[in-house]
Amino acid sequence: MSVRVQSARFDAGAELNAFSAGLGNAGAVVSFTGVVRDRDQGGMVAMEIEHYPGMTEAAIAKILAEAEARWDLVRALVIHRHGRLEIGEPIMMVATASRHRVAAFEAAEFLMDYLKSRAPFWKKEIGAGDAAWVAAKDEDEDALGRWSPKKD
């Protein structure tokens, strides 16, 4: 299980290949990549991501440990960036590997749901002359509900 919190850009394809190498008997690999996209109203210049050093890594490790406890994973990876990101750059990535595709998919969705609402990151959209913190969505908090009660 691997956690990386970094400001440096990463190459999602290279990460996927490194993650998929030598998996042994895990035949199913799922990845999620979040990419900086323009605001719906347009005019966004960049994104700024703040985080809580120390807590961030611990919170992600805790979420990964929970995913390992629930699903039969051979490997799991979370990369999340902070700092200034340009449009089109990868923000973060989750990858899971399992013998079964359903486990790989569910674990990746679980990781995403919890990262969204339980890992201390805050996004700010930078426009040409303005900047605004992204508001949390009720649907993201609600999404956590589907993982409880605990399933095997």
Binding site: G34, I49, E50, H51, Y52, G54, M55, A58, A59, H80, I91, M92, M112, L115, K116, S117, R118, A119, P120, F121, W122, K123, K124, W133, V134, A135, A136, E141
Partner: protein, 82 residues
């Protein structure tokens, strides 16, 4: 003494990322009341507690949680990572 940390718009409203606070507050909420009473920028930051989250020593907590033994309390809006 407790280290108070502020993130995102909480940090912006208060105007600093962290500070050491002399307090004998028993709970997070008591600490919030003390901070609110300091200056308008604190009152603005802590105006609506339902829009805030708190972590004690880097673990998410409730506003009625006890502060006994706490070294670090962080205030921030709901997370928006991923």
């Amino acid at each position: 003494m407790i280290d108070c940390l502020y993130f995102a718009w909480v940090r912006e409203r208060i105007g600093l990322p962290r500070e050491r606070v002399e307090t004998s507050a028993a709970t997070v909420m008591e600490l919030v009341e003390e901070l609110r009473a300091r200056e308008p920028r604190y009152a603005a930051a802590f105006e609506d507690i339902s829009a805030l989250r708190v972590a004690i020593d880097q673990e998410l907590a409730d506003f009625d949680a006890a502060l006994a033994g706490a070294r670090e309390v962080a205030f921030f809006p709901p997370m928006t990572g991923g």
